[in-house]
Amino acid sequence: MFPHTRDTLLFFTLISLVGISVICLLFIIFYLVSESSIILSEINLRHYFFDDSWHPSENQFLLLPMIVGSLFITIGAMFLAIPLGIFTAILCQFYVPNWLSQSLQRIVEILSGIPSVVYGFWGVVVIVPLLATIQAPGTSLLAGVIVLTFIIMPGIVLIANNAFQNVEKMHLHNAIALGLSRYSIIRHIVFPSAQRGLLSGIILQSGRAIGETLAVLMVCGNVVQFPGNIFEPIRTLTSNIALEMAYAMDLHRSALFLSGLILMLVVLTLILLAERFELSTKTT
């Protein structure tokens, strides 16, 4: 196949490694589908959307509030983390001296390395009591959004930094030579050309946000309901699995696999969206 045996060897090693990861993914999907099919064959689809509540031991399988909860918390966190992250990156790239920019980037890298459970613990000890002074009990959608914002913000800074660095240097130099203000340069040159990297990176981060489990479980209160306002507790699909998996049996267990399947579908959709953005902007 290849003129050198080394190349052939490398090729087959690589292809088998890739094969293993693909097979693992397929197995996971297959397992999710087969375990959830137990409940899908017994409980009609409309029950997950129109039952009175989520009480599997009493045959109530309302999943909708958790889908909504997962989406709300992700959208809320993205809403805060995207501007924070992008503005931090702009500051690093264009406004502060090099040494400060370097140290800011180091700090962001360290932040992104902190395990999310640590953020969760910080949320329980600091954010939740603080919010409780506004409206009890403090464990709420807002607490989740705040903690999640801190978890994904460093990732967005790193992505934005990367996207800004990839902007054609020639364009920047020309713009500076023309005497454009920094604002105009950022607004009219940097942003349009960094857009593609920013968007796909942000969508991938939102996948991470929706999949975050432990920190969210610790601060959200986990009551299965549609929140009346941001101070009310919610439960996400991920918390649902983590909370109940250890003790679930039969249909209950299968319902949790269904939660996982729904989550996987949402994340897959996000990844496909990210790919589309990348492709569509590449061709234009």
């Binding site: 009175d52 009480h55 009493e58 009890a136 009990p137 610790m218 250890a246 049996m249």
Partner: protein
């Protein structure tokens, strides 16, 4: 989890034991029992150097599933077996109480069963109504399937659908953490966990129930009403090693270990 490096038995030890046990035991199930089982396993391995006992957690239902599938030798279940689980045999290991906890700064000292029921039904929603502070009560409930939840519901004759919680959590430690950080919260946890954390200085306290204090003493004297069984479960045709381990866990030596974990031994 509780694996010791297997040692060669000395000739002396061999002579003292009528039968030499060897082999491997796998124990899975309830996270409440797991730390205790791991300690029991350690002592058992010391007595029988040719054995290895592997303890894994995953909840009571995993304990049952694994035994049914034959992937474990002993299951740990922190409740009574249900009627649809009659294919299994349970071996009572210890008893654990469930106690109501509040923040240390809460002036309330005891609640009647009726009051607790009213709180969990949201009919009493302010501490003021119980002569406490004028603050809304934060009701903490356990997630579906947890055995403390089942014990609680059964004792108070409630359905989980009736309860209107402010927060739902998973394990005991999480409840303790939340109550310690929220002066207006109420929760229920294993007495063992509560006493352990109070010993560490965590700002929570247990409430007396119907005038009976929630502590080990009341549990031993069988006065405290809210308690549950901690069981080892097996299927039929169990090995000599399994029998030996279960006998060991119900022996006098085991009792002091059980008490060390805040549970109450049932085989004096």
């Amino acid at each position: 989890m509780a694996s010791c490096s297997p040692q060669q038995p000395t000739p002396d030890l061999k002579r003292n034991k009528p039968i030499t046990l060897s082999g491997k035991l796998t124990i899975t199930g309830s996270s409440t029992i797991a730390p205790l089982a791991a300690e029991l396993a350690k002592q058992f391995e010391k007595q029988h150097p040719n054995t290895k006992v592997d303890v894994q957690t995953g909840g009571s239902s995993r304990g049952i599933t694994d035994i049914r599938r034959g992937t474990s030798d002993i299951g740990m279940v922190s409740r009574k077996l249900k009627s649809n689980e009659s294919d299994l045999t349970s071996h009572l290991l210890a008893k654990d109480g469930v106690s109501i906890i509040v923040h240390k700064s809460n002036p309330i000292l005891e609640l009647s069963e009726h009051q607790i029921k009213q709180i969990y039904l949201n009919k009493i929603d302010n501490w003021k109504l119980l002569n406490g502070m004028d603050k809304k009560i934060t009701v903490i409930n356990k997630a579906e399937g947890r055995s403390t939840l089942e014990v609680f519901l059964k004792h108070f004759n409630l359905n989980n659908t009736q309860i209107k919680p402010s927060i739902i959590i998973g394990d005991n430690e999480q409840a303790v953490k939340l109550v310690a950080n929220n002066p207006h919260a109420i929760a229920y946890v294993s007495i063992g966990t509560a006493e352990y954390d109070i010993g560490l200085g965590v700002p929570i306290k247990t409430l007396a129930l119907n005038g009976i204090p929630a502590n080990k003493k009341a549990l031993i004297s069988k006065q405290f009403p809210l308690s549950r069984e901690l069981n080892f479960i097996t299927k039929e045709n169990i090995s000599a090693l399994t029998i030996a381990f279960i006998n060991f866990s119900q022996s006098k030596t085991a009792n002091s270990i059980i008490e060390g974990f805040g549970f109450v031994p049932t085989h004096p």
